[in-house]
């Protein structure tokens, strides 16, 4: 009970720091996801038409993702210096793979028979993309975005090491000063944020799943 009291006190006394860090965290994660979506959706659509090079692109992003996150931030500092840009680039790199891969599998997974019917009825390539392939792969894309978002919210705690702020700041200060309450005060919002995004995006995923395909 006492520990809990200490925890509440910590939150109260450090609320400015926590609030500021939470907003930074949100901002970083959100921007990173937005840009990652902006890159991987079109790229995923593009490579779904070029199946031979697709594995290559997906391979690259897969390799990037195997770099330990801390190391990736480390690699980027000499190139991009410290600051929000470095953190963003690292986060974007992390978010690319799930979205790219899901977009690709979503589009290429649409039943050949359905595409053939569309072609056979005289739909143009563009109509097939917009009226058949995209609606049918939307749930996959959303699932990819959801995975990427949860991942990004977690990894964004490392932004503190390149001076980009975020809830990592709070956690790191807590660790340095042996203040477990402060560590928790940083870690819990991260977890809540991840859960919240996951939940919201799950709803969106359901919403965009065309009626008629999951009856």
């Amino acid at each position: 009970m006492e520990a809990f009291q200490v925890f509440l006190d910590t939150i109260l006394t450090r609320q400015d720091l926590i609030l500021k860090s939470t907003l930074e965290h949100l901002y970083l994660s959100f921007l990173a996801i937005l840009i990652a979506v902006g890159i991987s959706l079109p790229l995923g659509i593009y490579i779904s038409k070029k199946r031979k090079v697709a594995e290559f692109y997906i391979g690259i992003t897969a390799v990037l993702q195997t770099i330990p996150s801390l190391a990736l931030f480390g690699f980027l500092v000499p190139v991009l210096g410290i600051g929000a840009v470095t953190a963003l680039v690292a986060l974007i790199i992390y978010a690319l793979l799930p979205i790219l891969r899901n977009t690709y599998t979503g589009i290429t997974g649409v039943d050949e028979g359905i595409i053939e019917a569309g072609e056979g009825m005289g739909m143009t390539k563009r109509q097939i993309l917009w009226k058949i392939q995209l609606p049918l792969s939307l749930p996959f894309m959303m699932a990819g975005i959801r995975t990427a978002t949860v991942l990004t919210v977690g990894v964004a705690t490392l932004a503190t090491f390149v001076g980009a702020g975020g809830l990592g700041d709070v956690i790191w200060r807590g660790l340095q000063s042996w203040n477990n309450s402060l560590v928790l005060a940083g870690a819990i919002p991260v977890a809540l944020m991840a859960l919240l995004f996951d939940y919201i995006l799950k709803l969106v995923e359901k919403k965009v799943t065309p009626k008629g395909i999951n009856l």
Partner: protein
Amino acid sequence: MITFNNVTKTFEDGTKAVDNVSFTVNEGNLVTLIGPSGCGKTTTMKMINKLISITSGKITINGNDIAHEDDVELRRNIGYVIQRIGLLPHMTIEDNVALVPKLKGWKKSEYLKKVDDLLDMVGLEPNIYKKRYPLELSGGQQQRIGVIRALAGEPPIILMDEPFSALDPISREQLQDELKLLQKNIHKTIVFVTHDMDEALKIADEIVVMKEGGIEQIATPSQLLQHPANNFVESFIGEDRAKRAIVSGETRKANAIMQQLPSTLETSNMHVVTQDTAIQEVARVMLLKNTDTIIVTNSTGAPTGLIEKNQLLQELAGIKEEVQ
């Protein structure tokens, strides 16, 4: 009119799916492509709407080489019933059926009416089914939708790839009848792929029998039954020769099966039929008159041949060869 001129298709992997094929589908005719699995029926069909490119040779529609036609424009005027049905699962039945009319820019009221008419035609109550999604229909119902979707844009040519394969025998017969009627009434040119000889015999104006990418025989149903070009065609027609009798019997006359009249035979008090009496009718007369032999006369009434009861039975059963 669709014409194949020495058309060959070799896939990238070297498979020669269609090998130097030539045939013509006349306007308003229903032609079936039939043959064992993998013989190139689907490939042949898909070259007509350019879903598969031609390796060599030429296909013309009403004299125009399809190589020079715009793919999309060509396809909007050729109805296509795909072997795997291929309904768009995220669209309602109405949207599926109305797809080509919409692509062609029809007015809403026009295509909505068309959807209702077509659903009625295949026995699916529009108000129940048009707002449903494909997965809410049975396999057979989906197949009907696949068929009417190809008709919706009122194309002069329709390609159908085993369109009735998922139907129970009763609905299948029913749709075959519908199709035949439709083709007669509104003069559609139809290319119809099937595995099923009964189906081909029933609906086709002409049958193209294929094997390993080539054509074995092109004939009308009755020609095919009476004069199979080779053993392959014969075996494909099936051992069940009764089929043969059903179709050929309709057109066969007494003079086609009569035997020579022995010169010594006294015919004056025997029963007679004229030479162009259908053989079923001959059988009826024989039964009524309770006789085993009947005399066939020519148009002037002179005796020209005779038919015996056993021989007639064999003809009707279509088992002439085996007995001899």
